[in-house]
């Protein structure tokens, strides 16, 4: 009679397969899973001081995300992702000097913007004895924008599976065809491309800690300006570099884990930035966690950023009053509640984000009046079967 496998051996094998880096590098998922998340993203209205005339309301976006993951035979896995967003509101159109000489914003469209975005991606991954390799294709469509992209990545384990080297590549080919192009003398049809390569190295440090370092390089070319801004002219090429470091540490006595991620970024628009993400996963019971999160972000301004548009400047010279190219800092905090029951899990998240030039770690020569504050609420469910 065949002896049943010991429960401790099964638990040990399951733990080893579920290791970060190992689960991803060596074995397809053991079960299929279906996930859905609904989110509402709401930006704060601007004040009449910032916008003397017209719309004050900014974006309100509902986001639906779906993900299906399934093992395919012994060595493969299938990944299907789909997203749909509905958005309404308005965004900054151009910037002028107010009566006191300070910049004020003029918002797009008296009746606001209504748009939707749908995205689907399909991926397959092969898991071998010492690593994995896989790829995905994706398609995203809006009323005025279309993106087609492809990505590939491979991981290889070394050093008794304590070290993982991952290389990933991606390419995106995007088309831009702005709404009301004739009416507002916007570009009719433009294209842009983006290609990325990223290399990461993960290392298990001890039984409760692991570390990852990564470098990514992205090249963009084509039409990189914002067609909806009245005076926006940016270079037609950009190179971006991001250097990231992540730590995971489990505190046994507290029965909680710290996730810490830091990224340094720079590009040849002249922007440099620091991003620090901290999350604490507190296990309250075996099936309930509370996760507070804190994020700090700061960037310098692009070389050609101006907070008051110069309409006498020719479009051949780079210029933009886009608040996202200004120097600012942003602090965000959030709280998640995570519960598991049987094959189900549910996550409820609330997040608040506040950008302000006063939070900047870089010199702010020209503060933007259009910085964003937003609140986000999400509810996600996952079913494993």
């Amino acid at each position: 009679m065949k002896k049943p496998a010991s429960r401790s051996l099964i638990a040990l094998s399951t733990s080893a397969l579920a290791l970060p880096g190992i689960a991803e590098a060596d074995a397809p998922p053991l079960t299929s899973s279906l996930s859905y998340k609904i989110s509402n993203y709401q930006e704060d209205d601007l004040s009449r001081e910032q916008v003397p005339f017209g719309e004050l309301e900014r974006y309100d976006i509902d986001v639906h995300q779906f993900q299906f993951i399934s093992p395919l035979g012994r060595d493969y896995a299938l990944f299907i992702d789909a997203n749909h967003e509905n958005m309404s509101g308005a965004s900054p159109w151009f910037s002028t000097a107010g009566s006191n000489g300070q910049p004020v914003i003029n918002m797009s469209g008296a009746s606001g913007i209504y748009d939707s975005r749908s995205e689907v991606s399909l991926g397959v991954r092969y898991y071998g004895a010492r690593g994995n390799i896989g790829g995905a294709i994706g398609y995203s469509e809006e009323n005025d924008y279309r993106a087609k992209y492809v990505s590939m990545s491979g991981s290889r384990n070394f050093n008794n599976d304590l070290t993982t080297l991952t290389v990933s590549l991606s390419h995106s080919d995007d088309s831009i065809f702005p709404s009301d192009a004739e009416r507002f003398n916007r570009v009719r049809h433009e294209n842009k491309q983006a290609s990325s390569v990223a290399v990461s190295l993960s290392q298990v440090l001890n039984p409760v800690a692991s570390f990852q370092t990564a470098l990514s390089l992205t090249g963009q070319s084509g039409y990189l300006s914002d067609p909806y801004k009245l005076q926006d002219s940016r270079p037609d090429g950009k190179t971006q570099i991001a250097f990231s470091n992540s730590l995971r540490y489990f505190f046994i006595k507290a029965d909680g884990a710290l996730q810490s991620d830091y990224r340094y970024y720079r590009d040849d628009f002249g922007i440099r930035s620091h991003t620090l993400d901290l999350s604490w996963f507190q296990n309250v019971t075996r099936s309930f966690k509370i996760v507070p999160m804190l994020r700090y972000y700061s960037q310098s301004a692009a070389d050609f950023y101006t907070n008051i548009d110069d309409f006498l400047k020719p479009l051949s010279e780079s210029q933009s009053s886009d608040y996202r190219l200004s120097a600012f800092g942003a602090v965000s905090g959030g709280l998640s509640f995570v519960t598991d029951f049987g094959g189900w899990s549910a996550t409820l998240t609330a997040e608040r984000y506040v950008a302000n030039e006063k939070y900047s770690a870089f010199t702010v020569a020209q503060p933007s009046p259009g910085l964003v504050q937003f609140t986000r609420l999400s509810l996600g469910v996952n079913y494993a079967f």
Partner: protein, 60 residues
């Protein structure tokens, strides 16, 4: 580099229980990460990180 990493303490398979927990994964909630990446890509000038980028969007 790999030789240097090999010199790190050798964690045996039976010592990896804490490392196997969901909260110790590099990406413990893929949908949450994808949503955050999309929001910050739309509202800040920086992008890129541990993996190669996906498709763009007309997010203004």
């Amino acid at each position: 580099m790999l030789a240097l990493l090999a010199a790190c303490s050798q964690v045996q398979p039976w010592e990896r229980g804490y490392l196997a927990k969901q909260e110790m994964a590099w990406d413990s909630d893929p949908l949450e990460r994808a949503l955050n990446d999309h929001i910050f890509f739309s509202k800040e000038a920086s992008s890129g990180g541990n993996t190669a980028a996906g498709g763009g969007c007309g997010c203004n």
